[in-house]
Structure formats: structure tokens, C-alpha cells
Symmetry: C2
Subunit: 779 residues, 2 copies
């Protein structure tokens, strides 16, 4: 199987596979996890299963987050532990974010070595003085649930696979060498000296380790418990404490460093030697738990007991095969590689964070029992509320129900009673802005997931009324966040207004008219910072005056974050009609959109934006960051909806490529990928919380989306191409369809959504009245 | 109540209360917790209830364990956080060992302050620059379950009481000052910079905090969770992080330092301000848990909800009243103060370490559910196997059953499968030598506690066969621990031999003849290191040769620990007959004992022994450390049993005093106190694991011991006095009793044990045949 796959993989990479072969290539084989592993994509090539707790992947370096208190900018490259350009592998760690723009994790690193004992990782430029190994991409195989590489310095073949809660290793050593495993509990992503608060290893018996480490990183206190089983007995073991042991108690009575089964410290690296005569290979299973080492042992037994590496690799492949069967599609190999890799990337984060018995660590650091749901973590909500959760509401509704319940439990357990902002491993890191979990909850309710509306509304109100949360107190008082309070004040006001709209809709849905009225008013707050003279959102001071020395192009110090005023002034997803008015009417607005896409910016303009590549720009439109993700679809409200069809395809062609640099910015836990999938379907959820998806144009001639209710939606666009990118007409189940959007109900009912494509825009196809997508001002 | 008590307390201290008042003084009032709080006693004056998890007590200083890697000898004075000679109080922390010779804890310090905010404790010599306060002993009241002091610098009256799992504070502030509480999560006993791995506080609402801290001290990783409730709302709060914040994540978006409810860090001190107009006093309840902060909240609710400080103080008094009712006695006030204070000191450690729902943290750091037992911790086993657990087998059998079950669970959960050596708060600190938990188990079984013999034997065998444990591997091979392996080799061999005898007896009792035979042989190992030429135990090298340059008096480098060869050569509790033979026969042996008590040593001889005062010496006999605790009773096997009666009273008179320096060495979790109580009864368990208590002479004219089976044992010695210290004859329940020991059965059957006392020894009362206490060689 591997050999066939390897061939296909190489061909796929080369992009030379013809459509005729498509039928033989499975969806799993279409996935190219290498996409985005260089530069800014921040994806990883290692092994995981859908939504698993474990992402077992090679780390090519360990640039520390800071050294002697100084921030090291290059750490940013290593958000997922891997940069394709690198030539050495430090080892294989068990937890990785997919595509984030800040980072953490890289827990529990294992590295097979031979020869003399080296317990430090060495450096990229001087690998020989450390335990890391050189490698060649020629020896790498990366596919969903499986990773393989030859560690050149040791001649050890490394194979990795995973279950939901365990990483599974198989190392084949060369003949006539010693066989060693290092377990490095110092290693981590976004590491720094002192990040590990404590680490512990117990050698329970000659084939089982348990232990844990606690880190103080992006997650303030991340408890990673583990259980490690070996396929043959440990012969000999020991460890080194690289930190200062200030207080050793009475451990001096033992030789702790050798074959002493209770290892603990702040900075420990352990080694385990195995008998080379027993077998050439060594299999290792590493289960994780956020609860306890007993939980890790339980997870290990439940998911891996009695199963060989090969069996588990086949099972991982099967998991992905099932998950990727949700979409059937036709297209070029590059298009399909991009589509299925995107689908793959939407199913890594969020990740389950529950032991097999339902116990999990809450954000209050207490252990809870999940009742009737599976607890998830890794919520990059500012990114993912836009497309990822809406996509889940079509194809992964059970998962999203669990996610919403997890978010609500997080809200209950939070001392702030706040829903997740950016949360992982039972911690809130508060990254980025807004309280967008309210959007995730509202969209889930609008899309018919079985969520307790009353509880959801309570959590949403709590999250939006925390007076000390970034400018919320001032916002509630003034109707906007003043620039004195926050450097992101204008972005905050815009995003709070949208978030409040989702609370308004949920209150309405829950029959709570009082709360609905309050939040309907708050939802109009965007108007408070629109300078209608400029037709632009503009920060204000507490005294009501507009910010002076205002630069609509700059991304720095203007009251916006990850976007400039030009982009952010298009962010009123819940009331585009009002937005058009505030901007200056249809003509001005269309012109604003056109010029955004068309403008010419000097190359160095975004040189200081660390997480977007040059390819992530289309004129002044920034796709590598999220605030503009809905912008191409705003034409639907204007006199020129056909322009969406043009720019949408342009973005897809230019900014998603089947290669290592194929993502133009951080994938952000699948948000960039979810955008691609929805856009490829021909519609996009501009305003999550409505039941509407705004129509653009499909990217592929054929897509069939399997729904959990047993129905399926087929999207046809027979002659679609870069030339035939325009929509002439649409039919739903054979009947002409004139609306500018389709609804959740249309999708869930299934059937055929058929687009007649053309090389010329249909300028008559303009959406008016109820055909035009939702705007609050039209209620 | 307090005023009456205060009067009695002062009178008791002065020792001037006459016997005629005795009837009016309760046992609780007899207790003088100030005994041993100066110098080497290492007791504390604060509030606790019997066997409680919480010991809420003032800490008078915080000498660090080390500074810049250099050990600070003075830390030793602060094992219990308090030295009576000090003039300032740093604050009130919630966990304290009672009488240990090494230390830890001092967790969760609270200090009430007024005036300007100071977040550092200041120093003894410069209290004004810190938050600590001066105090006068005149304002101190210390009794079981209650402590009171006036904090002079603030004019705040502090009152403390406790429940099993909670400390309860009441602070009365002067008029017209602000009211503040500090919560110092850096403070600790045997502290050092970096001991706190992490600390966290959540301000759940305006009257409830939760949190935890993890320390790396004598306990490698000690998790102390807490819940704090205030009797009135917090007005304002904040904290300071005194450690380096290397990585703050995105917390920069908040003003974390003020009124931000999620506080975390390595070195944090928080403050809480209260409204002085609401009331002059503030009550605080602080519950602890080793499991979780949810567990702490549960404990708080279960033990304190709805109860005022005064009610809880009355309840604590009642708990002690019940506990101290186990013994009724007559004597002088000083004698009774010593007796009841000793009884009090036997019921502090071990301490419960289970939440009210039965959950507890195991030594594997997993959370376990206790089934059919209460989990205990703080096992100073090298000390307490001698008298404390045997005493429990008379008066606290249910507690000791729980303790034994806790020890067995510890053994199961230990990666070494080792029973506790010196264990506290789910950690093994390995302090001192031997595997004496086997003695605790064996004695419990011999005394009829309902222990699973088979499981116990398994745990005992496991504990005694760990090849890497201090010299055990060599001991199993050679029959002794060679001096190359350990500086305590001779002590080890003697103690292993006794421990192995307890395993032999347990195997016999469990019907396992094979194991019994193995351990009977091991129990004779003491013979392997007796140099019969000297009649002294003497270390040997691996090659079998005796240690050269051997000094029987030195306590350093001679193969013994906390005792010299002269004392340790008397340590064969399970085969005194053989010991007498090895020493040179009865005459030589009696002479050896006589000379030990009689010899004159220069004052400076024990100057370097840090935990024994000069008063702890009687000739060459050292009572302040434990290895000789049984020695005075060895005369029972000789031709001169009456000498026990002389020296026993001499030890009691000289080494136990009703004052701050009243203990001649560390109380060691009640071992010194248990010795006193048993000795006062007139008998002593020389060899725990037999059912025998070797007879000496009672100390008091009357003692009545209440037993859990409803029976009681009355010990009468009508005319006993320093002059009439000799036993002429003994009657048990009216019948002449000629044995040199009484048995557990005699005690449990209850009745009257009556000693006829005399000013002259009855030299005819010598014990022969079955009247002589147990020796292995006579089996």
C-alpha cells in the first residue's frame, strides 16, 4: 500500500496526474499535508486522526520564544514545529496546532538514536553535537494519519500514526547498532527557559512509563499527562536534569540517574535503551490525557491494546477515509488536492479534550465529567467563527454540537463566565479580540443544532457584559470603544456590534424580548464609529471626537488589528445595507470594493505584517488574515453581484496552491481551508447567525456534499473554468432560483444546486427585496 | 469562656495550680500547646482538631532553606514555623508538621493588615518595612483548637480555630482604619526561591476565592488547593508577582493587577480590602484539599457552611474534649499538663488527607476514591513505629486501621511498591532509614486490627526487597549492609533485621511458611554485624572485614545515624536474649546499660547534633532521638528489672517539662509524646509486632484508659512518687501478676492494673521463663 501511495503522492506533488486517473485515487490519497508547511501556513506534516487530541509530528527546530527576556522573532516560523526548508529533525512530539498564528504545545518529544548518548538537541547549524538528525524530503511520506521519514544520521526509519488520544511510533534501527529512545520533556514549541514548571516520569514496569508535565506558556498552565508503552522491554535507562536542582530532599540516598523508576524535575531528558538482538524494530504507543496519568493509561488501553503499528495505521487511514467521504468532487488533481487537503485541515482543530471515560480538565482546572457530550479544545474563535463552524453546521453537525456544548461548559467554568476567546487545553489565552463564541452559538442555533437556547443566551449575555474585558465597559457606556482604552478600538467596536447582533437573534429565538431589544440596540453600535464624511470606520476618543492623523491604509496604530481601516470598514456583516449607506451609497460602495481589489501597493507595504505572505494580497485585499474573508461576497447586496464571481475565483486561484508554500497566511485551525471549501461550493456565510449563505460561483464542475441527515447536496457547474467563471443562472432542484443566497434549509433538504456558467457576467442578475441577503436595517 | 480559660491558662503556665482545683479543670484546659515551641521541640501553638488536615498557626519567621544554593542552618529552628523567642508574626499559615526534624508546608499564609499596602514580609530585625507585626506573648492564648494574639503593629486581634479540613480566622480591626487581608502564596516553611512551581487564585465572587499552589520542597510536588470565604464582600483587590514573568501570553489586554479575578504566577502575594464601616471584624474560612479546588469548596461547605467563628471554636473544643477523654488521670498540674499535652501532640500527625467525599491524591499523583477507609498522610515512620502506632493500637484503633490502610494504598500506588518511609501530602521524601511501615502493619495485625493479612504481607515483602533501596540489595546478598554502600550501614542492618522479624511474624500469622522461613533468617542478620570481641555492633566492609578506626562514642562516620555505636548496639528489640549473649552475658549487659545512663560526657559532646538539646541526654543515653527509646526497658530481660523503674522516671522528670523548652528534642509527630504516655502507664512496647508491653513503673497514682471496645483499663499506683518509684508487686484485676509484661489482650479486656510502690527496689522481682518478655531465640 505504501509503495503505491508513494508513487501517487509524488505524482500528485508534481501536479501531473491526469483526470483519467481520478477514479482510482481515493480522497485520502488526494490529501497533501505538505501544503502550507513552509513559510506562513503553519501546518504540520505528521500523523493524526480527525479531531484527535494527538498530532504526532516531526519538529524541525526549537527556536525559543525568548532568550534572556528578549523575544526571538523567528519563533513565529515554528508555530507548528516544522518548516519544510529545514534539513534536520529534532524529534517527534505529540501535540501541534494546525495553522495558528501564535503557538504552544510540542509536548512529549520522542527521538530514536544510536551510538553515543547525547541528551541535548543540538542546533540546526551544528546537528552533530546534539541528538537531532539530518533528513531528506525524498524519504518523507506524509498522508492523513501516517508519516514516515529516514533519520539519516542514525539510519533509523521512523514511521508514525495515531489514534484519537495516542501517537504510535515504529522505529526500525540498522543492524549492529544500539537502540535508544530519548524522551525530552524540555522540548516544546514557543519554548523558553522555565516554561516547564514540572515534569515527571514513572517507569511502571519494563514496558510502561507514565508521567506528566506542566507548562506555563501560551496556556498559562497546561497539564499533559502521558502513558508510554514499548513493544519490547527496557534494558537500561536514566535521565539528566538540566535545570538547577535547588532542593533534592533525601533523594541523595539513591542513584537516581540510572534505573531509578521515579524521575522528576524542571528540565529533564530521559533515555531508554533496548536490546537490538530482540528485534530490529521498536513500536511505541504514547497516549495523552489532560486529566491524569491514570487517564492516559486508560486511553492507551482503550485505543491501542493488542493492536500493532500496522493495524493502527490502517485504522487511521480508515478514519480519514470516512471523514473525507463527506465530499465527492471532480476537478484537476491540483484542485482536488487543494480541496481534500482543505477538508483535512478543517478536521484537526478543534480537538477532543476528554478521556475515553468522559473526564476532562476544565478551564477552572478542576476535573469534570462530560455528560452527553464530548469535550473539545483549541478554539481560535476570532478566526473560525467565520467559516469553520458554519461549514461544520453543514457537514459535521454532531462535532459542532459537541463544540458548542464544550464552549458553554467553558463559559460556566470560567471565573469571568466568559465563553472562549482563544482557548486551548483548559486555558484561555485571550488572543485576538471580540467575544465571537456568541456567533458560534447563535449560528448553531440558527442552523438547528440541538442547543439549549436559554443556557446559550445566558452564556452569551455573560460574555458580552464583562466590564473589564477589553473595552467592553466603555463600549456599553459610550456605544463604542474609545481609542484611549485600546489600540484596536475601532475593530473592537465593529466586532462587538456584530457579536451583539448574534445575541439579539438568539434572544429573539429564545423568546426573550427584553434582552433582544438591548442587543438590537448594541448591534447598531457600528454606526457610532462611521465617519460618514469619509465613508470609513474611524476611531473616536472618549470625548466623542474622531481620531486625528488618521491613515486608512496603515495597519499600525490606527485603531484596527490585523487589517487597516480600508478593509475593516467593510466589516458590518449583519447590516450590509446600512454599511452601503454609511459608505456613501451603492456606487461609492461598489467602487470601494473594486478599488480594494484593484489597487497597486508597493511590495514593501505589508513587509511588517508577520503572518501574511505577499501572495496573500490582492491589491489592498488581505486574504492571509481573516477580517476580509467575507468581502468578496458583499457585491451580492449591490448592483454588481457578478463581481463576487470574478474575485472569488481569483482569490482561490492565487492564494491556494498545491505546494509547500500553498497557503498565503496561517491556516488558523482550518479557517482558511473552510473558506476555500465553502467558496468552492459557490456560497459563503457572510453573516453567521442568519440561515443564509450568500451565492457566488462554484469552483468545480461537480461537488456532492453528504449530510448527516442522509440527504446530499449536489452542486453542478458543468463548464466552469477560469474563463467561464460567471454565473448566468441558477436552478435548485430543477427550478429557477433567483435569490442571492441559499438557506440552511435548502442545503439540509438536499438535492441539486445547478449553476449555468458563462464567460460573461450576467449583469441583470441583481438581488432585490427578499432576494437580497439579510440586513438588520431591513427587519 | 475565654476569660475563665485565660485565667486558668496563666495559672497552669505558672505551675501553681493546686491539686484541689483539678476537678474543675477539663482535660482540654490541661493542654499547654506552648510546650516545645522554643528550641528543638518544633511544636506549634496554633489551632487544629484531632488528626485534621489543617493546622492553622502563626509563623514567626521564614528563614529560607537555602539562599543562592547555600544551606541556611537556622531554617532548622523553623520546622513548625514558630519559635517562642521571636517577637514578630509574619502571618497565619494553614499547614504545619508537629515536631518534625526536617520540614515543609506553611501553605496559604493569611495576614490582616491596615495602613499602607506592604506586600513583602519584612525581616525580624526590620519589621516596619514589611507586613509582619510585632506581638507580645501576654496577648497570646493557645489551647487545643484555638489560638489568639494581638498584632501590635496593627491593633488587630487575631483569633484562629479549625475544623478537620478548614482553618477559621476572625480578625477584629481597630476603629477608623482600613481593613486588609494579605494572601501570601510565596510564604512557606523550608522555603527557597523557586519552591513554588505555580500558584493560582480565582476570585469566584465577592466573598469566595479558590486556588492552589504547587511546591517542590521536601515533598517533591505538593498540590495544595484551597477555598476561602469571607464574612463580608471584598471591596477591592489586587496582587503583585514578585517572580519574573517571562511569558505573559495575551494578558496584556487586561489590567491584571487590580480587580482581575484570575490571578496566577510563580511568586504572588494578593491583597483584599474590606469595608471598615460594615463591621469591625472579618471572619475567614479557608478549606484545603489535596485533590482540587472543587474539593476544597466541597470541604468548605461540608464543614463550615452557616457556622460562625464562635460556633466552630466551640466545636473544635468539643472535638478535643472527646479525644482527650480517652485518658483520665490524677497528678500534679505540671504532670497533667505534660500528660494531656502529650496526648494532644499524638493526635495532630498523621493527618487526614481525604476530601469529605473520600477522594484523595495518591503518591502516584492520581486521584483515588477511598473505599471503606479514610486516607491519612504525614508518616514519620522511623520515629512513630516505636510508640505512636502501638499507642494508637490501644486508644485510637480505628484511626490506626485507617492509617495502615492508607500505608498499604501508598504501597500499591508507589512505583517502587514501597510502603511509606517518610511520606507526606502524596509524596515520599525518603527521610531516615529502614522500611518500618512493616512494623506498623505487623503490630496492627498482632494487636487484632482488621487488616487484610495477605495484602499486608505482600506489601511488606515488596518494601523489603527493593534492590536499589538504601543497601537492601547488598543486605539480601551479604546478610548486612556494607559500609561502602551507606554511611548508616550498621544502623541499617540492625533496623532491617528487626523489620524482617515483623515480616516473619506476619507471614507466620498469614500461614505463609515459606516467606516466614525466609524472613526468620533475615531477622537474625543483626548477628552478622556484632563484633563479639567488643560486644558491640560494628560496621563491616563488603569483604567481611570489620570497619577500622572504629569509635563507639562518635555519632559521625561510624556507620550509625542519629545515635552512636553504644546506643545502637542495644537495638535488637526482637531478640534481647541474643543481644545479651552477644554483648557478653547478663552481667556485662546490665553494666553496659548502667554505664550508658551513668557516664559523664563533656558538655560539648553533642554540640553538633542539631536536633537534641543538652537536656536530652542522660549520661550517654539520648532521649531526644529515637533509637534508644526502648533502652530503659531492656532491664526486664536481665537480673535487674528494677533499674527500668529508676531510669524511666528519671527520663520523664528530666526530659519532659511544662514550659516552652519542655521537649528535649523534636516531638517527631508525637513519638516523644507517645513514649511519655505509655511510660506513664507503666509499660512500653519494646518490640512492636509482639502483643507484649514490657512493664516498668507507672508515673502517676491513677490513670484510666478508655478503650474503643467499651472496656477501660485503670492503672493504680497509690503512693507513687519520685521517692516511691519502685514496684514492689503487681496485681491484675486483683490477682498477683508476675510477668515482666502485659499483653494486648490484658489491656483490651480492661480492668485494674495495680502497682504497689516502694521506696526500695524489689530485687527479687526478676522475670524468668515465660514471665520474661519475648525473644526470637526462645521460640
Amino acid at each position: 500500500m505504501i509503495n503505491v501511495r508513494k508513487l501517487i503522492f509524488c505524482l500528485t506533488i508534481a501536479g501531473s496526474l491526469t483526470n483519467t486517473l481520478s477514479a482510482q485515487v481515493t480522497n485520502v490519497e488526494r490529501v497533501n499535508p505538505i501544503i502550507g508547511t513552509n513559510g506562513m501556513g503553519h501546518t504540520f506534516p505528521g500523523a493524526c486522526v480527525p479531531f484527535g487530541l494527538v498530532q504526532l509530528s516531526p519538529d524541525t527546530d526549537t527556536i525559543p520564544h525568548n532568550v534572556d527576556g528578549k523575544y526571538q522573532a523567528r519563533v513565529y516560523e515554528y508555530c507548528a514545529g516544522y518548516q519544510h526548508k529545514d534539513s534536520t529533525i529534532v524529534g517527534f512530539s505529540h501535540t501541534h496546532f494546525s495553522g495558528t498564528g501564535h503557538s504552544d504545545l510540542g509536548d512529549i518529544l520522542i527521538m530514536p538514536t544510536t551510538g553515543e548518548l547525547r541528551l541535548n538537541p543540538g542546533t540546526m547549524t551544528d546537528p552533530d553535537h546534539g541528538y537531532r538528525s539530518r533528513f531528506s524530503h525524498d524519504t518523507e511520506i506524509s498522508r492523513p494519519g501516517y508519516y514516515e521519514v529516514m533519520l539519516a544520521d542514525y539510519g533509523v526509519k521512523a514511521q508514525l500514526t495515531a489514534t484519537k488520544r495516542a501517537g504510535v511510533h515504529k522505529y526500525t534501527y540498522p543492524k549492529e547498532t544500539n537502540q535508544r529512545i530519548l524522551l525530552d520533556l524540555i522540548h516544546g514549541i514557543y519554548n523558553y527557559d522555565g516554561k516547564v514548571l514540572w515534569a515527571s516520569i514513572r517507569v511502571e514496569n519494563d514496558t510502561l512509563l507514565t508521567g506528566y508535565r506542566i507548562t506555563n506558556g501560551w496556556a498559562r498552565t497546561n497539564y499533559t499527562y502521558f502513558a508510554v508503552s514499548f513493544s519490547k522491554p527496557i534494558k537500561n535507562y536514566g535521565f539528566e536534569e538540566k535545570g538547577e536542582v535547588k532542593y533534592s530532599g533525601f533523594y541523595r540516598k539513591f542513584d537516581q540517574k540510572h534505573n531509578f523508576p521515579e524521575i522528576g524535575g524542571r528540565r529533564i531528558v530521559a533515555y531508554f535503551d533496548f536490546d537490538p538482538n530482540a528485534s530490529a524494530d521498536l513500536e511505541i504507543k504514547v497516549a495523552l490525557s489532560g486529566v491524569s496519568s491514570a487517564g492516559a493509561v486508560m486511553n492507551l488501553q482503550a485505543e491501542t491494546a493488542g493492536k500493532s503499528f500496522d493495524e493502527l495505521a490502517v485504522a487511521a487511514n480508515k478514519d480519514w477515509s470516512d471523514a473525507l467521504a463527506l465530499i465527492d468532487a471532480k476537478g484537476t488533481d491540483d484542485q482536488l488536492a487543494m480541496l481534500y487537503t482543505s477538508l483535512y485541515h478543517t478536521m484537526i482543530n478543534p480537538s477532543i479534550y476528554t478521556d475515553v471515560d468522559g473526564q476532562y480538565r476544565g478551564v477552572d482546572q478542576n476535573i469534570h465529567q462530560a455528560k452527553d457530550f464530548t469535550n473539545y479544545t483549541v478554539f481560535s474563535v476570532w478566526d473560525t467563527y467565520r467559516s469553520l463552524h458554519p461549514l461544520f453546521n453543514i457537514i459535521n453537525r454532531q462535532v459542532n454540537t459537541d463544540i458548542v456544548n464544550s464552549m458553554m461548559k467553558h463559559g460556566e467554568q470560567s471565573v469571568h463566565k466568559a465563553l472562549p476567546v482563544w482557548s486551548h487545553m483548559a486555558n484561555e489565552n485571550w488572543c485576538m479580540i471580540g467575544y465571537h463564541s456568541v456567533s458560534v452559538l447563535a449560528d448553531a442555533i440558527a442552523k438547528g443544532l440541538p442547543i439549549n437556547k436559554k443556557e446559550a443566551l445566558k452564556a452569551m449575555v455573560n460574555s458580552s457584559t464583562i466590564p473589564y474585558y477589553e473595552g467592553t465597559g466603555e463600549y456599553m457606556k459610550l456605544g463604542y470603544v474609545p481609542i484611549e482604552r485600546s489600540g484596536s478600538s475601532a475593530s473592537l467596536t465593529l466586532e462587538y456590534a456584530y457579536d451583539d447582533w448574534t445575541i439579539y437573534k438568539t434572544a429573539q429565538s429564545a423568546g426573550n424580548t427584553e434582552t433582544a431589544a438591548t442587543y438590537k440596540k448594541r448591534a447598531n453600535s457600528f454606526k457610532n464609529i462611521f465617519d460618514t464624511k469619509l465613508g470609513i470606520a474611524r476611531p473616536r476618543y472618549t470625548n466623542g471626537e474622531w481620531k486625528e492623523n488618521f491613515d486608512v491604509m496603515s495597519t499600525h496604530g490606527q485603531g484596527f488589528i490585523e487589517g487597516n481601516a480600508l478593509n475593516y470598514s467593510l466589516y458590518v456583516p449583519h447590516d450590509v445595507n446600512s454599511l452601503i449607506e454609511l459608505t456613501g451609497g451603492d456606487k461609492v460602495f461598489v467602487n470601494r470594493l473594486d478599488s480594494l481589489f484593484d489597487m497597486h501597493l508597493p511590495d514593501e507595504f505589508f513587509a511588517h505584517t508577520e503572518d501574511v505572505t505577499k501572495e496573500g494580497l490582492l491589491g489592498g485585499y488581505v486574504h492571509g488574515n481573516e477580517p476580509s474573508h467575507h468581502v468578496a461576497f458583499l457585491y451580492a447586496w449591490t448592483s454588481a453581484p457578478w463581481k463576487t464571481q470574478y474575485w472569488q475565483r481569483e482569490i482561490m486561484n492565487r492564494m491556494y496552491k498545491n505546494n509547500i508554500d500553498g497557503l498565503c497566511g496561517n491556516d488558523d485551525c482550518g479557517q482558511m481551508s473552510a473558506w476555500y471549501i465553502l467558496s468552492a461550493m459557490g456560497f459563503y456565510p457572510v453573516c453567521p447567525g442568519t440561515n443564509q449563505y450568500v451565492l457566488g460561483a462554484p469552483y468545480l464542475p461537480y461537488m456532492k456534499v453528504q449530510l448527516e441527515n442522509g440527504n446530499s447536496l449536489t452542486i453542478k457547474a458543468d463548464k466552469v473554468s477560469d474563463k467561464n467563471r460567471y454565473v448566468k443562472a441558477v436552478k435548485l432542484n430543477g427550478k429557477p432560483y433567483t435569490k442571492g443566497y441559499i438557506t440552511q434549509e435548502d442545503i439540509m433538504n438536499g438535492g441539486i444546486l445547478e449553476f449555468t456558467m458563462s464567460s460573461k457576467p450576467n449583469k441583470q442578475r441583481v438581488f432585490k427585496g427578499t432576494d437580497r441577503p439579510y440586513s438588520l436595517s431591513e427587519e
